[in-house]
Amino acid sequence: MWRIVHQFGSPPWVYRFCERVIPWLLPITFTALVIGSLWGLLYAPTDYKQGDSYRIIYIHVPAAVVALAGYYVMAAAGLVSLVWKIKLADTAMRAAAPIGAAYTAIALITGAIWGKPTWGAWWVWDARITSMLILLFLYLGVIALFEAYENKAIAARACAVLSLVGTVNIPIIYKSVDWWYSLHQPASIKFTGPSAIDASMLYPLLGMIITFYALFAVLMMINLRDLLLDDHRSSAWLKKQLEA
Protein backbone atom coordinates (compact mmCIF):
# COMPACT_ATOMS: atom_id res chain seq x y z
CA MET A 1 0.00 0.00 0.00
CA TRP A 2 2.76 2.48 0.94
CA ARG A 3 4.53 1.66 -2.33
CA ILE A 4 1.53 2.97 -4.29
CA VAL A 5 1.40 6.13 -2.14
CA HIS A 6 5.13 6.69 -2.60
CA GLN A 7 4.80 6.45 -6.37
CA PHE A 8 2.70 9.63 -6.30
CA GLY A 9 5.67 11.43 -4.80
CA SER A 10 7.99 10.39 -7.59
CA PRO A 11 8.20 12.91 -10.47
CA PRO A 12 9.21 10.36 -13.17
CA TRP A 13 6.32 8.07 -12.24
CA VAL A 14 3.78 10.93 -12.20
CA TYR A 15 5.14 12.33 -15.47
CA ARG A 16 4.72 8.96 -17.17
CA PHE A 17 1.26 8.53 -15.60
CA CYS A 18 0.12 11.90 -17.02
CA GLU A 19 1.60 11.12 -20.44
CA ARG A 20 -0.30 7.84 -20.48
CA VAL A 21 -3.68 9.07 -19.20
CA ILE A 22 -4.04 12.42 -21.02
CA PRO A 23 -4.34 11.00 -24.59
CA TRP A 24 -7.49 9.03 -23.74
CA LEU A 25 -9.03 11.11 -20.94
CA LEU A 26 -8.90 14.33 -23.00
CA PRO A 27 -11.01 13.08 -25.95
CA ILE A 28 -13.47 11.32 -23.59
CA THR A 29 -13.94 14.54 -21.59
CA PHE A 30 -14.34 16.61 -24.75
CA THR A 31 -16.98 14.20 -26.12
CA ALA A 32 -18.83 14.21 -22.80
CA LEU A 33 -18.72 18.01 -22.77
CA VAL A 34 -20.29 18.18 -26.24
CA ILE A 35 -22.96 15.55 -25.43
CA GLY A 36 -23.75 17.12 -22.04
CA SER A 37 -24.05 20.62 -23.53
CA LEU A 38 -26.35 19.44 -26.34
CA TRP A 39 -28.44 17.46 -23.83
CA GLY A 40 -28.78 20.42 -21.49
CA LEU A 41 -29.19 23.13 -24.12
CA LEU A 42 -31.43 21.31 -26.63
CA TYR A 43 -33.10 18.23 -25.12
CA ALA A 44 -33.76 19.15 -21.51
CA PRO A 45 -37.25 20.67 -21.12
CA THR A 46 -37.77 24.41 -20.57
CA ASP A 47 -38.45 25.62 -17.04
CA TYR A 48 -42.02 26.51 -16.05
CA LYS A 49 -40.97 29.90 -14.70
CA GLN A 50 -37.68 30.89 -16.27
CA GLY A 51 -38.23 29.42 -19.73
CA ASP A 52 -34.97 28.87 -21.60
CA SER A 53 -32.78 31.18 -19.53
CA TYR A 54 -32.37 28.57 -16.81
CA ARG A 55 -30.26 26.47 -19.21
CA ILE A 56 -27.13 28.36 -18.17
CA ILE A 57 -27.40 26.17 -15.03
CA TYR A 58 -25.62 23.46 -17.05
CA ILE A 59 -22.45 25.58 -17.06
CA HIS A 60 -22.94 27.67 -13.91
CA VAL A 61 -23.54 24.94 -11.32
CA PRO A 62 -20.87 22.46 -12.52
CA ALA A 63 -18.26 25.26 -12.69
CA ALA A 64 -19.16 26.43 -9.17
CA VAL A 65 -19.18 22.90 -7.69
CA VAL A 66 -15.77 22.03 -9.12
CA ALA A 67 -14.37 25.47 -8.17
CA LEU A 68 -15.10 24.58 -4.51
CA ALA A 69 -13.85 20.99 -4.80
CA GLY A 70 -10.73 22.18 -6.64
CA TYR A 71 -9.88 24.41 -3.72
CA TYR A 72 -9.75 21.37 -1.45
CA VAL A 73 -7.46 19.65 -3.98
CA MET A 74 -5.12 22.66 -3.82
CA ALA A 75 -5.31 22.87 -0.01
CA ALA A 76 -4.69 19.11 0.37
CA ALA A 77 -1.58 19.47 -1.79
CA GLY A 78 -0.56 22.39 0.42
CA LEU A 79 -0.99 20.23 3.54
CA VAL A 80 1.16 17.44 2.09
CA SER A 81 3.75 20.00 1.05
CA LEU A 82 3.92 21.57 4.53
CA VAL A 83 3.91 18.39 6.61
CA TRP A 84 5.69 15.81 4.47
CA LYS A 85 7.86 18.25 2.46
CA ILE A 86 7.15 16.45 -0.80
CA LYS A 87 8.18 18.70 -3.66
CA LEU A 88 5.66 17.19 -6.03
CA ALA A 89 2.87 18.45 -3.74
CA ASP A 90 4.07 22.02 -4.39
CA THR A 91 3.83 21.31 -8.10
CA ALA A 92 0.30 19.90 -7.68
CA MET A 93 -0.75 22.99 -5.72
CA ARG A 94 0.61 25.27 -8.46
CA ALA A 95 -1.10 23.13 -11.11
CA ALA A 96 -4.51 23.38 -9.41
CA ALA A 97 -4.59 27.15 -8.73
CA PRO A 98 -5.10 28.54 -12.29
CA ILE A 99 -7.71 25.88 -13.12
CA GLY A 100 -9.65 26.67 -9.94
CA ALA A 101 -9.41 30.39 -10.71
CA ALA A 102 -10.80 29.77 -14.21
CA TYR A 103 -13.71 27.69 -12.89
CA THR A 104 -14.53 30.35 -10.29
CA ALA A 105 -14.43 33.07 -12.94
CA ILE A 106 -16.76 31.02 -15.17
CA ALA A 107 -19.19 30.54 -12.26
CA LEU A 108 -19.17 34.29 -11.50
CA ILE A 109 -19.55 35.36 -15.14
CA THR A 110 -22.34 32.87 -15.96
CA GLY A 111 -24.00 33.86 -12.69
CA ALA A 112 -23.99 37.51 -13.74
CA ILE A 113 -25.39 36.63 -17.18
CA TRP A 114 -28.10 34.54 -15.50
CA GLY A 115 -28.82 37.17 -12.85
CA LYS A 116 -29.62 39.96 -15.29
CA PRO A 117 -32.74 38.38 -16.86
CA THR A 118 -34.00 36.52 -13.77
CA TRP A 119 -33.21 38.83 -10.82
CA GLY A 120 -32.90 42.06 -12.76
CA ALA A 121 -29.28 42.75 -11.74
CA TRP A 122 -25.85 41.68 -13.00
CA TRP A 123 -24.30 41.82 -9.57
CA VAL A 124 -25.60 41.90 -6.00
CA TRP A 125 -23.40 41.97 -2.90
CA ASP A 126 -25.14 39.05 -1.24
CA ALA A 127 -23.33 36.46 0.90
CA ARG A 128 -23.07 33.74 -1.78
CA ILE A 129 -21.76 35.98 -4.55
CA THR A 130 -19.37 37.92 -2.33
CA SER A 131 -17.86 34.78 -0.77
CA MET A 132 -17.44 33.35 -4.29
CA LEU A 133 -15.56 36.52 -5.30
CA ILE A 134 -13.29 35.99 -2.26
CA LEU A 135 -12.63 32.46 -3.55
CA LEU A 136 -11.47 33.94 -6.87
CA PHE A 137 -9.13 36.30 -4.99
CA LEU A 138 -7.76 33.37 -2.93
CA TYR A 139 -6.94 31.43 -6.11
CA LEU A 140 -5.38 34.52 -7.72
CA GLY A 141 -3.56 35.22 -4.45
CA VAL A 142 -1.93 31.78 -4.46
CA ILE A 143 -0.80 32.27 -8.08
CA ALA A 144 0.56 35.77 -7.38
CA LEU A 145 2.21 34.78 -4.09
CA PHE A 146 4.15 31.98 -5.74
CA GLU A 147 5.45 34.35 -8.40
CA ALA A 148 6.38 36.98 -5.82
CA TYR A 149 9.21 34.96 -4.25
CA GLU A 150 12.62 34.35 -5.78
CA ASN A 151 13.16 31.27 -3.57
CA LYS A 152 10.62 28.71 -4.76
CA ALA A 153 10.73 26.58 -1.57
CA ILE A 154 9.71 29.59 0.54
CA ALA A 155 7.12 30.56 -2.10
CA ALA A 156 5.56 27.09 -1.92
CA ARG A 157 5.40 27.25 1.88
CA ALA A 158 3.69 30.66 1.82
CA CYS A 159 1.21 29.44 -0.81
CA ALA A 160 0.46 26.30 1.22
CA VAL A 161 -0.31 28.40 4.31
CA LEU A 162 -2.53 30.75 2.30
CA SER A 163 -4.45 27.93 0.65
CA LEU A 164 -4.94 26.09 3.97
CA VAL A 165 -6.20 29.20 5.75
CA GLY A 166 -8.48 29.89 2.79
CA THR A 167 -10.33 26.59 3.27
CA VAL A 168 -12.38 28.47 5.91
CA ASN A 169 -14.19 30.14 3.01
CA ILE A 170 -15.46 26.91 1.39
CA PRO A 171 -18.12 25.94 3.98
CA ILE A 172 -19.08 29.63 4.16
CA ILE A 173 -19.77 29.68 0.41
CA TYR A 174 -21.65 26.40 0.60
CA LYS A 175 -23.86 27.37 3.56
CA SER A 176 -24.16 31.12 2.83
CA VAL A 177 -27.60 30.75 1.26
CA ASP A 178 -28.89 28.92 4.35
CA TRP A 179 -27.21 31.05 7.04
CA TRP A 180 -28.19 34.49 5.74
CA TYR A 181 -30.93 36.15 3.72
CA SER A 182 -29.50 36.22 0.22
CA LEU A 183 -30.80 36.84 -3.28
CA HIS A 184 -29.20 33.63 -4.49
CA GLN A 185 -31.55 30.65 -4.17
CA PRO A 186 -30.64 27.63 -2.00
CA ALA A 187 -29.26 24.41 -3.51
CA SER A 188 -31.58 22.46 -5.83
CA ILE A 189 -29.67 19.19 -5.62
CA LYS A 190 -30.08 17.74 -2.17
CA PHE A 191 -27.98 14.94 -0.73
CA THR A 192 -30.79 13.95 1.62
CA GLY A 193 -34.32 13.79 0.35
CA PRO A 194 -35.68 14.50 -3.13
CA SER A 195 -34.08 17.24 -5.24
CA ALA A 196 -35.98 20.43 -6.06
CA ILE A 197 -35.13 19.99 -9.72
CA ASP A 198 -37.10 17.68 -12.01
CA ALA A 199 -35.36 14.41 -12.99
CA SER A 200 -35.44 15.31 -16.70
CA MET A 201 -33.34 18.40 -15.89
CA LEU A 202 -31.31 16.80 -13.11
CA TYR A 203 -29.67 14.01 -15.13
CA PRO A 204 -27.99 16.28 -17.71
CA LEU A 205 -26.89 18.50 -14.80
CA LEU A 206 -25.30 15.57 -12.95
CA GLY A 207 -23.67 14.53 -16.25
CA MET A 208 -22.19 17.99 -16.67
CA ILE A 209 -20.94 18.05 -13.07
CA ILE A 210 -19.11 14.73 -13.59
CA THR A 211 -17.74 16.03 -16.90
CA PHE A 212 -16.47 19.22 -15.26
CA TYR A 213 -14.72 17.07 -12.63
CA ALA A 214 -13.11 15.02 -15.42
CA LEU A 215 -12.10 18.24 -17.18
CA PHE A 216 -10.51 19.47 -13.95
CA ALA A 217 -8.57 16.18 -13.68
CA VAL A 218 -7.32 16.29 -17.26
CA LEU A 219 -6.36 19.99 -17.08
CA MET A 220 -4.61 19.27 -13.78
CA MET A 221 -2.57 16.49 -15.43
CA ILE A 222 -1.66 18.73 -18.37
CA ASN A 223 -0.50 21.48 -16.00
CA LEU A 224 1.37 18.97 -13.83
CA ARG A 225 3.15 17.51 -16.86
CA ASP A 226 4.15 20.96 -18.12
CA LEU A 227 5.39 22.12 -14.69
CA LEU A 228 7.40 18.89 -14.30
CA LEU A 229 8.95 19.44 -17.74
CA ASP A 230 9.94 22.95 -16.66
CA ASP A 231 11.22 22.02 -13.17
CA HIS A 232 13.20 18.97 -14.27
CA ARG A 233 14.52 20.16 -17.63
CA SER A 234 18.09 19.21 -16.69
CA SER A 235 17.22 15.90 -14.97
CA ALA A 236 18.62 12.66 -16.31
CA TRP A 237 15.29 10.79 -16.05
CA LEU A 238 13.51 13.37 -18.18
CA LYS A 239 16.19 13.24 -20.89
CA LYS A 240 15.85 9.46 -20.97
CA GLN A 241 12.06 9.73 -21.02
CA LEU A 242 12.02 12.18 -23.94
CA GLU A 243 14.53 10.14 -25.95
CA ALA A 244 12.56 6.93 -25.48
Binding site: P45, T46, D47, Y48, K49, Q50, Y54, I57, L79, L82, V83, W84, P117, T118, W119, G120, A121, V124, W125, D126, A127, V161, L164, V165, T167, V168, N169, I172, W179, W180, Y181, S182, L183, Q185, P186, A187, S188, A196, I197, D198, S200, M201
Partner: protein
Protein backbone atom coordinates in the same frame (compact mmCIF):
# COMPACT_ATOMS: atom_id res chain seq x y z
CA UNK B 1 4.59 8.93 12.07
CA UNK B 2 7.92 10.71 12.23
CA UNK B 3 7.82 13.03 15.32
CA UNK B 4 8.95 16.02 13.22
CA UNK B 5 6.10 15.47 10.74
CA UNK B 6 3.64 14.94 13.55
CA UNK B 7 4.69 18.25 15.06
CA UNK B 8 4.26 20.02 11.72
CA UNK B 9 0.85 18.40 11.25
CA UNK B 10 -0.24 19.66 14.68
CA UNK B 11 1.01 23.19 13.89
CA UNK B 12 -0.86 23.21 10.55
CA UNK B 13 -3.98 21.82 12.25
CA UNK B 14 -3.86 24.53 14.94
CA UNK B 15 -3.27 27.20 12.31
CA UNK B 16 -6.36 26.17 10.34
CA UNK B 17 -8.46 25.74 13.49
CA UNK B 18 -7.49 29.16 14.86
CA UNK B 19 -8.06 30.99 11.58
CA UNK B 20 -11.42 29.21 11.22
CA UNK B 21 -12.37 30.31 14.72
CA UNK B 22 -11.31 33.90 13.97
CA UNK B 23 -13.28 34.06 10.74
CA UNK B 24 -16.18 32.29 12.44
CA UNK B 25 -16.32 34.92 15.20
CA UNK B 26 -16.04 37.80 12.71
CA UNK B 27 -18.82 36.34 10.58
CA UNK B 28 -20.93 35.74 13.68
CA UNK B 29 -20.40 39.31 14.87
CA UNK B 30 -21.30 40.68 11.46
CA UNK B 31 -24.15 38.27 10.80
CA UNK B 32 -26.76 41.06 10.89
CA UNK B 33 -24.82 43.00 8.27
CA UNK B 34 -24.27 40.01 6.00
CA UNK B 35 -28.01 39.58 5.52
CA UNK B 36 -28.86 41.11 2.17
CA UNK B 37 -32.25 42.39 3.28
CA UNK B 38 -34.60 42.97 6.20
CA UNK B 39 -37.57 40.65 6.57
CA UNK B 40 -40.96 42.37 6.98
CA UNK B 41 -41.12 41.09 10.58
CA UNK B 42 -37.88 42.95 11.39
CA UNK B 43 -39.28 46.14 9.87
CA UNK B 44 -42.49 45.71 11.86
CA UNK B 45 -40.38 45.30 15.01
CA UNK B 46 -38.66 48.61 14.24
CA UNK B 47 -35.21 47.11 13.56
CA UNK B 48 -34.77 48.82 10.19
CA UNK B 49 -33.62 52.47 10.09
CA UNK B 50 -35.93 55.16 8.70
CA UNK B 51 -35.02 57.52 5.84
CA UNK B 52 -31.98 55.49 4.84
CA UNK B 53 -31.55 53.13 1.91
CA UNK B 54 -32.34 49.58 3.03
CA UNK B 55 -33.42 46.36 1.38
CA UNK B 56 -36.58 44.47 2.19
CA UNK B 57 -37.25 40.94 1.00
CA UNK B 58 -40.18 38.55 1.06
CA UNK B 59 -43.09 37.15 -0.88
CA UNK B 60 -45.43 39.39 -2.88
CA UNK B 61 -48.88 38.94 -1.33
CA UNK B 62 -51.49 37.46 -3.68
CA UNK B 63 -53.91 40.09 -4.94
CA UNK B 64 -51.97 43.02 -3.46
CA UNK B 65 -50.38 44.33 -6.67
CA UNK B 66 -52.04 47.51 -7.97
CA UNK B 67 -50.70 49.60 -10.82
CA UNK B 68 -51.26 53.33 -11.41
CA UNK B 69 -53.14 54.00 -14.63
CA UNK B 70 -51.00 56.95 -15.79
CA UNK B 71 -47.53 55.97 -14.58
CA UNK B 72 -45.32 52.89 -14.12
CA UNK B 73 -45.88 53.10 -10.36
CA UNK B 74 -46.74 49.77 -8.78
CA UNK B 75 -47.85 49.21 -5.20
CA UNK B 76 -47.68 45.81 -3.54
CA UNK B 77 -47.39 44.11 -0.17
CA UNK B 78 -44.41 41.97 0.81
CA UNK B 79 -44.74 39.36 3.52
CA UNK B 80 -42.66 36.81 5.42
CA UNK B 81 -45.91 35.30 6.77
CA UNK B 82 -45.25 37.03 10.11
CA UNK B 83 -45.64 40.68 9.05
CA UNK B 84 -46.40 42.63 5.89
CA UNK B 85 -44.79 45.76 4.43
CA UNK B 86 -46.15 47.88 1.59
CA UNK B 87 -43.72 48.77 -1.20
CA UNK B 88 -44.18 51.29 -4.01
CA UNK B 89 -41.97 51.24 -7.06
CA UNK B 90 -41.90 53.53 -10.08
CA UNK B 91 -40.04 51.60 -12.75
CA UNK B 92 -39.84 48.47 -14.84
CA UNK B 93 -40.22 45.26 -12.82
CA UNK B 94 -38.14 42.14 -13.63
CA UNK B 95 -39.78 39.40 -15.72
CA UNK B 96 -40.08 37.02 -12.79
CA UNK B 97 -41.95 39.53 -10.62
CA UNK B 98 -45.40 38.10 -9.85
CA UNK B 99 -47.82 37.64 -6.98
CA UNK B 100 -46.69 34.80 -4.75
CA UNK B 101 -43.04 35.17 -5.85
CA UNK B 102 -40.06 36.32 -3.80
CA UNK B 103 -38.54 39.77 -4.32
CA UNK B 104 -35.85 41.99 -2.81
CA UNK B 105 -36.54 45.74 -3.01
CA UNK B 106 -34.00 48.50 -2.32
CA UNK B 107 -35.62 51.64 -1.00
CA UNK B 108 -36.27 54.06 1.81
CA UNK B 109 -38.63 53.23 4.65
CA UNK B 110 -40.85 56.19 5.44
CA UNK B 111 -42.47 57.05 8.76
CA UNK B 112 -45.77 55.76 7.34
CA UNK B 113 -44.22 52.27 7.06
CA UNK B 114 -44.20 52.28 3.25
CA UNK B 115 -40.97 51.47 1.43
CA UNK B 116 -40.41 53.67 -1.63
CA UNK B 117 -38.23 51.41 -3.76
CA UNK B 118 -35.56 52.49 -6.23
CA UNK B 119 -34.85 48.94 -7.38
CA UNK B 120 -36.83 45.70 -7.31
CA UNK B 121 -35.06 42.36 -7.86
CA UNK B 122 -36.82 39.04 -8.32
CA UNK B 123 -35.69 36.30 -5.94
CA UNK B 124 -36.45 33.00 -7.57
CA UNK B 125 -36.58 29.72 -5.66
CA UNK B 126 -34.63 26.52 -6.14
CA UNK B 127 -37.44 24.64 -7.92
CA UNK B 128 -37.00 23.71 -11.56
CA UNK B 129 -39.50 21.68 -13.57
CA UNK B 130 -40.90 21.43 -17.09
CA UNK B 131 -44.13 23.45 -17.72
CA UNK B 132 -46.17 20.23 -18.11
CA UNK B 133 -45.08 19.04 -14.66
CA UNK B 134 -45.94 22.42 -13.15
CA UNK B 135 -49.38 22.29 -14.81
CA UNK B 136 -49.95 18.75 -13.54
CA UNK B 137 -48.94 19.77 -10.00
CA UNK B 138 -51.34 22.71 -10.09
CA UNK B 139 -54.09 20.43 -11.37
CA UNK B 140 -53.60 17.94 -8.53
CA UNK B 141 -53.50 20.80 -5.99
CA UNK B 142 -56.86 22.01 -7.28
CA UNK B 143 -58.27 18.52 -6.92
CA UNK B 144 -56.93 18.31 -3.36
CA UNK B 145 -58.46 21.65 -2.42
CA UNK B 146 -61.92 20.76 -3.63
Amino acid sequence: MHPKRKQRLIIVGLMVALSSATVGLIVYALSGNINLFYAPAEIAAGEAPLDRSIRVGGMVVDGSVSRASDRLETRFDVTDYAATVTVTYDGILPDLFAEGEGIVATGVLGADGVVVASEVLAKHDENYMPPEVAAALEQSNKVDNQ
